[in-house]
Subunit: 267 residues, 2 copies
């Protein structure tokens, strides 16, 4: 069964110049994977309408779920929704529901609407605003063709809160009914290059299990290889069974090479 | 003066499924920025020849410097150089110098070459191997047209060591003779949305300074906004002068709104 594809577009020069590490993309990648989607790209773009539009357009053509983070705030360089609108040839306009969210947020603090605050309520036409449980700027959810474009804030606490409250329930409805698990073993005492032929064979033996080895310590000397198997199936016991079958093959092969193994369980 | 563009391509399913946070891209983004390049994209792709080739091709068409990380090891899912070769319609072949590096690495530990170890010495034709000061797999540097494609390992310690020893000296030769500085102030007591019009004006006043505001704490209540100005010029004092001129405009405006300011210096 082919998993529906997801693309993540991270907007922000601070990510490109390395001022900020892109933890948002990793958090979303994990969420989407365990919801049953296949994350195919994470693309980081500058705060620039043309660049955002270029990547959103490409993503919509290829993915069922497109999630953008960042660029929803009140300043000149918050341009994500302009980029989304441009990518899809939609008009950007004040959304009444979004404006009400922004108005309420500021009124509660005794502050009026200003043009820069109203800007945060401008969405591509047809988009539904997503409530921001922490900050001022609403997110946006837009359906186009068979795809869904979801724009979330860049501040991690706001992004996570909005995703969990507003986005996850929607994605659960479109996600395949799959359980995804990841099981881990650690192989001590054998270099990754010696283990490589065995890992290759285990990988080729199952299309439904994704195996990846991560060398820790040193290739020679005292090598430790962490091996993770990601498997998906109709239910959790079946997914664990699939993952463990692949890992068992590696365990057996590694023991023959004189390795010692520690099993780290599944999650 | 237009800065030469750089693209970073991060290869690895572990990044897409959120098992690993992409710290390599941030580290490289910072390095490239301060060398005088403009990082225009960071693209994360699966361990898959077609996906790698697609993005490398796109990158080479648009950027002077393309850096890939990951996918150089001995296992089946280490496919970066196959992807690079495919993107550029080059043959992948054992490189004698690379093979000598790999052989020496293993011989020092009393280990022989195996097909999976020889695999690490297979480079796109015309590429120059880059010595790995820590691990087994060499990197690769390839010049095509006006672009340079540099493939580094995914293990952060190996990636950084190889970049600093083998890549930075080469990039310094092609980098523009620019000094880049980043100066920071923090504005206390004014919401970002109130400060937004002032930041906008400061931004428009100088094309050579890139300003970005990062809200900390809360938009209202006790707002703190970190504002960073990135400036480049022929020498460092001039770059600092440019950055501080933009920040001074914001400081003056913020003070009129009742904010207090702390200056955090330049780096």
């Amino acid at each position: 069964m082919e998993k529906p594809k997801a693309w993540i577009i991270s907007v922000g020069n601070e990510l490109l110049i390395g001022r900020t590490i892109n933890t948002n993309a990793a958090w979303l990648g994990r969420k989407l994977t365990f919801l049953g989607f296949e994350v195919e790209r994470i693309v980081t773009v500058p705060d620039n309408i043309e660049d955002i539009a270029e990547e959103v357009k490409r993503a919509v053509e290829r993915a069922k779920i497109v999630i953008t983070t960042g660029g929803l705030g009140p300043t000149y360089d918050d341009r994500t929704l302009e980029g989304v609108a441009k990518a899809l040839s939609l008009e950007l306009a004040v959304n009444d529901d979004a404006l009400e969210m922004v108005r309420r947020f500021y009124n509660a603090k005794g502050l009026e609407l200003t043009p820069h605050r109203v800007k945060m309520a401008m969405l591509p036409r047809g988009a539904r605003p997503l409530k921001n449980p922490i900050g001022a700027a609403p997110g946006a959810l837009l359906k186009v063709g068979g795809s869904m474009i979801i724009s979330l804030p860049g501040v991690p606490s706001e992004m996570k809160a909005m995703f969990e409250a507003e986005v996850e329930p929607v994605l659960k409805e479109v996600a395949p009914r799959l359980e995804v698990v990841e099981c881990t073993i650690r192989v001590h005492g054998v270099p990754e290059s010696s283990l490589a032929p065995i890992i290759d064979k285990a990988h080729k033996a199952s299309e439904r299990v994704y195996i990846k080895s991560h060398p820790e310590g040193y290739e020679t000397g005292n090598p430790i290889i962490t091996i993770k198997a990601l498997a998906s199936a109709e239910n959790k016991p079946k997914a664990i069974e699939e993952a463990m079958r692949s890992l068992k093959y590696i365990v057996d092969g590694a023991r023959k090479l004189g390795a010692s193994i520690s099993e780290e369980g599944c999650s």
